[in-house]
């Protein structure tokens, strides 16, 4: 086909129609526009648009059909009849292309329409959804306002609760501090008898931990006191609100039992407490003071009794020689001419006077010791010399009291003759004389031994041992007490003020020494003492 046969105007018309078609609103308009425009193409007699499925009108002889379609859509066909087909044929490809373009335009339009419908549908949905969301938003907003109001109310309630809690905490803190700082232990016990609260003061008083204290009370209460404690507990349970008081001994973790006074009150029915409240106070010191007072009282009474006894004894001891002295003094006048009697009587008077003097000396000594008037008067001497003096004195004394059969021994250490000491020789001698005299007094047979040795250290050790009647162990403490006589002098037919051993102890105390006693009834006695000295 030669292009020179084509009329450019027709090609231009086809081109322009494509542009105008875009502006036409619908298929009908397009097809009427197209048909009217195409009929001017050379050789065409008549042109119709036949829709899909439509049949060609009977008055139309279709000589050519050109489809108006795309790959996906069919919009019908251009049905052509010719006045001169030869003239038309050069335009056939252009018309086919034009028909295809019309199909494309229609398809695009259809797609746009669908898109528009979808868009409208979407817009409608968006609108509906927007309305729905607005309604929901309004609901949510209303709910939010409601929640906000509730929130504010809750916040207010919370603030009130917080304030109440703070007040409660402050109150509890005050209560806790009061309990903590209280000297008394506070114990709360429930209706089952369980101690569910014990304040810290209990640890201070007992040494036990709180958990240890929460165990059974029989583990910590002194067995003898358990009964009164249980009785008090029964009273507490029975007498609601009444304060029940009980004193008992409670175990201490590291010491002896301690004394507690507990005041219990039953508040089990009080809803704020629901407990038996125990106020427990350590009264150990009070009890000790009480005991000391009792002991002091007893001691005072005993002392009074002893003084009375002592005075009676002294009276007797003084009266006896005094009677003898007075009696024999009277006899002296009656027997003035009888020399023998005079000699005998004056001897008795002299002896009894010495006895009396001894008693008075003893009384004076103990009085001086008691009043602290005795002072130490040190001098230098050899202890062996003191021993030798005593030996000489008691050899004579032994004979004088008719106890020459008793073996009187002196045992000294080998170094003693070479030792010189500085001490109060007079007091030391008085101590030894008292002890040895005492030994002779209560020894009828056997032996009396005195010993002396030096050291260790700057000490001089003495002992006086006898095979006499001995002293029962339970009376060992009493022998050094003033105004006490262990043995009945009447039975023993011995005289004495009972001041010998107290004087001995008093003198040893003054010299800074210590005395001990080993003895049992019937086995003799050994008094041993040590005094600090300067040994040279």
């Amino acid at each position: 086909m030669a292009n020179d046969k084509l009329d450019p105007k027709v090609i231009g018309q086809l081109s322009l129609m494509q542009s105008v078609v875009n502006n036409l609103p619908d298929t009908t308009s397009i097809f009427s526009f197209v048909c009217k425009g195409l009929v001017d193409i050379p050789g065409i007699d008549r042109i119709l648009v036949i829709g899909p499925g439509e049949s060609v009108p009977v008055d139309h002889v279709a000589q050519m059909s050109i489809p108006i379609c795309t790959a996906d859509s069919d919009y019908g066909q251009l049905s052509l009849s010719f006045s001169d087909k030869t003239l038309f044929m050069p335009y056939e490809p252009y018309l086919s292309n034009f028909a295809f373009m019309i199909g494309v335009i229609l398809e695009q339009r259809c797609q746009r329409q669908q898109i528009e419908e979808h868009k409208q549908l979407l817009e409608q949905r968006i609108q509906e959804r927007t309305i729905e969301l607005q309604e929901k938003n309004a609901e949510i907003k209303a709910q939010n306002e409601e929640y906000q109001q509730l929130n504010e109310e809750l916040s207010q309630i919370n603030q009130e609760l917080y304030r109440a809690k703070q007040q409660t905490e402050e109150s509890e803190e005050k209560f806790r501090l009061m309990i903590k700082n209280s000297n008394d232990t506070i114990v709360l016990i429930n209706e089952k008898g369980e101690q569910f609260y014990i304040s810290d003061a209990a640890m201070r008083d007992t040494g036990f931990t709180i958990e240890e204290l929460k165990g059974p009370i029989r583990n910590v209460i002194y067995p003898d006191d358990l009964k009164i404690v249980l009785e008090a507990w029964s009273l507490v349970l029975a007498r609601k609100g009444e304060a029940i008081r009980v004193q008992y001994r409670h175990k201490h973790k590291y010491k002896e039992y301690i004394w507690f006074e507990a005041v219990g009150q039953n508040f089990l029915d009080n809803p704020a407490i629901k407990a038996v409240v125990l106020n427990v106070r350590d009264i150990t010191k009070i009890k000790e003071t009480e005991n000391e007072l009792i002991k002091a009282k007893e001691k005072a009474e005993e002392s009074d009794r002893l003084k009375t006894s002592f005075l009676q004894n002294m009276s007797h001891e003084i009266r006896t020689p005094m009677n003898a002295i007075m009696g024999f003094a009277d006899l002296l006048a009656d027997n003035f001419n009888d020399k023998e009697k005079l000699k005998k009587f004056s001897g008795i008077i002299s002896k009894r006077s010495k006895d009396l003097l001894e008693i008075i000396n003893d009384i004076l000594d103990i009085a001086k010791i008691e009043s602290g008037q005795l002072t130490v008067k040190n001098n230098e001497f050899k202890p062996i010399e003191l021993i030798e003096e005593l030996s000489a004195f008691f050899s004579e004394y032994q004979e004088r009291i008719n106890k020459g059969h008793i073996l009187f021994e002196i045992k000294t250490s080998s170094e003693l003759p070479y030792i010189t000491i500085i001490s109060d020789k007079i007091k030391l001698k008085q101590i030894l004389i008292n002890l040895i005299t005492n030994a002779f007094k209560y020894t009828d047979n056997g032996s009396i031994t005195i010993g002396c040795k030096a050291g260790p250290g700057n000490y001089l050790h003495f002992y006086v041992s006898d095979t006499g009647i001995g002293i029962p162990k339970e009376k060992h403490k009493l022998v050094f007490e003033r105004f006490t006589q262990i043995h009945n002098n009447t039975e023993r037919n011995v005289s004495g003020t009972g001041l010998g051993l107290p004087i001995v102890k008093g003198l040893i105390d003054i010299l800074g020494g210590k005395i001990s006693l080993e003895s049992e009834a019937g086995t003799g006695s050994t008094f041993a003492f040590s005094i600090p000295v300067i040994i040279s």
């Binding site: 105008v20 036409l24 609103p25 009427s32 526009f33």
Partner: protein, 208 residues
């Protein structure tokens, strides 16, 4: 009066035309219609032409704002006779009848007045309404359009005829194309291959 061969801008593209153009715009949305009016009128007034717009839809307010954007004071232009806005029906269907010769005389008078008033030219844009198909003399629409082509040879008025494709059927649109030498396609003015010279068209029309 001989046709002057003065070059003018129609306001659509930078393309220059000899004065005395008759253009058809087939539009299918109001923006397209409105833009054509603004471009055509504003370029004409800027060129010193006497202008007129026949439209049922354009308002003074809308046009005034567009005029202002382009440095033209609407009231001033209206009072000086540089521009006039009229309703389509008032112009085309005066007396309830469409009379092509009256319209041709009106255009001729408009052009003469532009010359008298020392305008550089005259331009008119008018939107035809489908009412024309119902009104007395409406069937002579194509005759009128064809006679405009004769008129502009002696009175080179520049005219744009607007047709709403949504309101006229396809066949009518094709008929309208045949009486306009130029078309506005996608904002550009193009020659119309369907155009039939007025002498031929009117002769054929009279034969029928």
């Amino acid at each position: 009066m001989e046709k002057e061969h003065k070059k003018i801008s129609l306001g659509f593209t930078s393309q220059q035309f000899d004065a005395g153009v008759h253009i058809c715009q087939i539009f299918n949305d109001n923006d397209e219609r409105h833009n054509a009016i603004i471009n055509f009128i504003v370029s004409g007034m800027q060129a010193g032409e006497k202008t007129a717009c026949f439209s049922e839809q354009e308002s003074k307010t809308t046009l005034a704002s567009f005029f202002a954007e382009n440095g033209i004071e609407y009231n001033e232009a209206e009072q000086s006779g540089d521009f006039k806005l009229s309703k389509t029906a008032e112009v085309y269907f005066e007396g309830g009848e469409f009379e092509p010769d009256r319209m041709i005389d009106l255009l001729k008078g408009f052009y003469k007045k532009s010359i008298e008033q020392n305008h550089t030219g005259a331009r008119v844009i008018g939107e035809m309404t489908p009412e024309v198909e119902q009104i007395k003399g409406g069937s002579r629409l194509l005759e009128y359009e064809s006679k405009v082509n004769l008129l502009i040879k002696t009175c080179p008025v520049n005219a744009v005829c607007q047709y709403d494709a949504r309101l006229f059927n396809g066949s009518t649109i094709m008929d309208i194309l045949k009486v306009h030498p130029y078309m506005i396609i996608r904002g550009a003015v193009v020659r119309n291959p369907f155009f039939v010279q007025p002498e031929e068209f009117l002769a054929k029309n009279n034969a029928h």
